[in-house]
Symmetry: C3
């Protein structure tokens, strides 16, 4: 594996999930694989779960880890070519990425969207250039439009906890006080759509009108504005807020009650409730659910390690075979 | 050992000091004990000595270490239950602590007091909830009311440098320009009081009127407002500033000279002088003393490693015996 | 080796370069040398390349690494003696350095100049006191006046890519938008001057009038204000901006074109182009050159690892022989 940026970088979902679960069963079995290899984690935006779980995964594989926390202010990267750099950008991504590629065998990168310029965000220009110029395998730690380690984690968790062959999985929009990126729901949608193609599950998305995700991610999904309809017979409900894609980054007022709670849980097939965290209690998701037996959110966060570990494992193997 | 928060978490002071000194004599003897174990250090407030010494201790034991520097602004935790999280707090401690407990085998936490709300600070609500929800052993890296790794260090240092069976130890208030927490003196007082109970030393506290510590920490200590009287025959003088407990967080004007200097040293039994650092030279403690033969401050800081290492060792042993 | 602060700390340049290149050929050959040894990296100013490459070098040698990012605001150090510390400085360098020396076997320190007070900057007071009080070997990660790891890297790179016994090396001033320190050019000049003494190369400096470096660094170099003259027959051109030493920290307007580009490259002997990075594209150095076959900038950055590794190796050896 040379890059892990979207679901397109994985050929067989069932296989990678099985591989991740086998790592989970025996976390240190491959600690020789990463010996003398260095993982560099570059955060242009803050991170808690992603940093810790990826660091842990790398250490399980015997790798060295170097973390670079560089917010965009402190380290303004130029991404355009042909520009005289006499302004505020201090380094061009061509040099920045190439140099990090010299010190690290594998790189991780996190970079959030502006939520102001749809075209720029969805072009994933920064990420693509980073991948191009660093010359080593790159794992996305969340980009402007996707969070693939989270989505792989979610599929692992669904696989672990499903009680039937083909569970019904619902992505349900929820309220929030801030305008959030579409990266997590985009990514979840593209992974679940592919899982549906592979016959692993049925996938439905429920969101208020105006909050439709970009169609490139939701191909094959059942889409509805009716939450109660969507929750019918659901085995897993993935609760998440996002801002509008259409009116890019906007937050429409929503009058109906979209918070997931015990009342709504009753409509489901005793569904397991998922969330990528951090979660706003009693705004996105009720405390009752979070503290009750249907919540998977902590187990899900815990599984971040195995998603990262299987990706790093595959990248290390591709380095060895060079 | 499941938690290390106060002196109550240690049953026998003599024993733990002896164990720490045996670690010091052979720092890497137990490097297999921590293999494949991860220590997570969570700093809600800045740290230098505590971070470095605890990290070093963990590495001596063969552990992996992950450091999380999160100031309270960047990562505002909700600690109250039953609150709709539609304000500035971004994550509830229930989830935050639980997730970190998934990635780490042992956690350290540092969190300073507000110095504005005595009841809130002294309830140690944040710490107690963190311990409760993370589900792994927790070592305090300094809380609102205590700094137990510092106090254990101090007892180790006194044990190493004492010239008689039962030395006289004095905690002496000193001037400062800022309002400082009571955590270090509280903790020192509770450890020395217990050491006095175990017949290891005699313990006296000297502070100006109005600077009395909370009685729950000073049980059994001789307490005086007369510094010269306290210094009589002292074998160790622990110099430290703190703000008022009674008028919580206030700083009263003090007219007498409370800075420890060579004149006052003459009253003592050629006492060794201690301070937890950082120290304000010629305000709390004279340069003369700091640069002279009676100062233990660097040796004391150095011993932070062995205090941390014996605590981590005991926690690792309790993990193994599970 | 007890310190690595300037070229004076190396007796034989040819030898240390050869040693560095032998480490490069076999990066992990000495991974037992640093076992149980800790490197502490103290950054009073930000760092990317220096931190990563030094960390990588230390890990190659089997060392543990602890990084301390402390900007000057957060951790205001007092360096003067005899001062009552009742102001904004929170810790004296005597204690700060001594304590770090207790936790680490080798320390690295980065501290930039103020560019406001020439005498204070060029006294290297902070660095000298840090070296004095920490009591362990210290490697400079860039000081007010020098960046020796960069200069050693540059000599390694020149040695690797030279096509004749005694290449012509030119340090060429280039434009910038900010007032930059003289540390990199000072250091490059003092290393190249010594390399010239050792008959390894010929060294020329070209800068506009008013931008002369301090003579203590340029001893033996050919110095000119005529860039084209300097570039004649050049085998290596080291492009770098710096502010005035004479009118300390000032930036004079320069009307001639001092940016290195393909036109100027034609004057040279098909010279290899170097730069310490980060580089302002099309202001200091043309994109054409940076993206073309004459640029060594990425290889040069990559070599930072081997400069750091040979220095750490020598320091570790001096620890063992104690």
């Amino acid at each position: 594996m040379k890059k892990f940026f979207s679901v397109a970088d994985v050929t067989n979902l069932k296989e990678i999930v099985a591989e991740a679960l086998s790592q989970k069963a025996n976390p240190n079995a491959l600690e020789e694989l990463g010996k003398h290899k260095t993982l560099g984690l570059v955060f242009l935006n803050p991170s808690l779960r992603t940093r810790l779980s990826t660091q842990k995964a790398a250490m399980n594989l015997g790798m060295n880890v170097m973390v670079m926390n560089m917010d965009k202010d402190g380290w303004a990267l130029e991404t355009r070519d042909g520009v005289v750099m006499n302004g505020t950008t201090v380094e061009h991504i061509r040099e920045a990425a190439a140099v990090m590629g010299e010190y690290c065998d594998i790189l991780g990168l996190r970079s959030f969207p502006s939520l102001k310029d749809k075209e720029a965000d969805y072009s994933e220009d920064l990420f693509n250039k980073f991948i191009k110029y660093c010359a080593v395998p790159v794992v996305s730690l969340e980009s402007a439009t996707r969070h693939p380690l989270q989505s792989l984690t979610d599929l692992i968790t669904i696989t672990e906890y499903k009680k039937k062959d083909k569970p019904k999985v619902v992505l349900a929009w929820a309220p929030h006080v801030k305008a959030l990126p579409q990266a997590v729901p985009n990514s979840f949608a593209e992974w679940m759509s592919k899982a549906q193609e592979e016959n692993l599950l049925d996938f439905t998305i429920a969101q208020p009108a105006g909050y439709e995700l970009s169609e490139e991610f939701t191909n094959g999904a059942t889409i509805t504005n009716n939450l109660e309809e969507a929750l019918q017979d659901a085995d897993f409900v993935y609760v998440k807020n996002w801002s509008s894609f259409k009116e890019y980054g906007e937050v429409y007022p929503v009058n109906e009650n979209w918070m997931m709670d015990n009342e709504k849980l009753k409509i489901t097939n005793d569904a397991k409730i998922m969330h990528c965290l951090p979660v706003r209690r009693d705004l996105e998701l009720s405390s009752e659910i979070l503290d009750g037996p249907n919540s998977l959110v902590i187990k899900e966060a815990s599984n971040r390690v195995w998603a990262a570990q299987v990706v790093l494992k595959r990248m290390l193997e591709s380095l060895k075979s060079k």
